[in-house]
């Protein structure tokens, strides 16, 4: 419930989502997971170029939903948000950097076309 989002202090402690929100989030996570697994078994999807980006996007959505609603980071103090998102950004950049370094990722620059 975004309207309950606190500015700072202790007020946020009592503004967690309701039970019905928790059930809806669980249903949403189940549906997205079912779509992910289905995509794995659909050859037309699994072999197309959109497969990997779509899987990464669905996974990221599930990640954010759990962090926002179940870990209630969206309602929590900004210090907690910084303590989580700061290292998470460093971790993601490190992962991407290592993949570039070991030639698992590459940027194709179209200068020679």
């Amino acid at each position: 419930m975004a309207d309950n989002a606190p500015a700072a202090g202790h007020a946020h402690e009592d503004h967690h989502p309701t039970w019905s929100i928790y059930w809806k989030v669980a249903l949403f996570l189940t549906i997205v997971t079912a779509i992910e697994v289905s995509a794995y078994y659909i050859p037309a999807w699994e072999t197309s170029w959109v497969y990997v980006p779509s899987m990464l996007i669905m996974s990221a959505i599930k990640f954010v939903v759990v962090v926002y609603y179940y870990m209630h980071l969206g309602y929590d103090h900004k210090v907690f948000q910084a303590l989580f998102t700061g290292p998470l950004i460093i971790a993601i950049l490190t992962l991407i950097g290592l993949l570039f370094l070991f030639s698992k990722l590459a940027i194709r620059i179209g200068l020679l076309a």
């Binding site: 669980a26 697994v37 794995y40 699994e46 497969y51 759990v66 870990m71 303590l83 460093i90 993601i92």
Partner: protein, 229 residues
Amino acid sequence: MTASTAPTPAADAHAHGGGHHTSLGLDNRKVAIWTFIGSECMLFASLISTYLIYKGRSPQGPFPHESWTNPTTGEVFKPILNIPITSASTFVLLMSSLAMVLALAAVQNRHVPKHSAWDRILGSSKLWLWTTCLLGIGFLGFQAYEFTSFIHEGLTIRTNLFGSSFFTLTGFHGAHVTAGVIWLFTLLAIDYRRGLEPSDATIVDIAALYWHFVDVVWIAIFTLVYLIK
């Protein structure tokens, strides 16, 4: 404990060994768990990076998504990952996160009047903590089955680069789930001993944050290791 006799949250927190507050007014235990979770992000990023870097670089199988024939023996190995089993274990872990938030909500709303059987079910912290524990144990059971079947099919941590990085990554995650289950059992012990009160919500919240983090790590692993070939 009735609402009229309940001590103030601050007094109760100290009576139960509650944490201190930082100069920002934040509970130091929550600062600690978020800092710990931040460091865990980097740990798992390094493990996932290692897996992805070594992916496809094993000179010999078994492989995660492709068949492989041993040139020496002629033995054929099927793709080793079992997506249906892992999908089921993923569902189990996702549902354990639901049970965990319901356990936390039950503790926070302990003194809210329960008018129906459904309210009493939702308000039972023991029920939801037990559910979370059992689902966590169920996930570990799936992982034990997966590891055992891999070993029977010829993949161990020493077989190839895939085996080393796979068992290290998923084994670390399984160890975290195990620690989480033990943590939840300690909360259950407190609940049976004296009952978890709303003033205990922070200690349940901290365990819940850890549990949900283990869940989100699995969300990433499931996609990157199992679903993306």
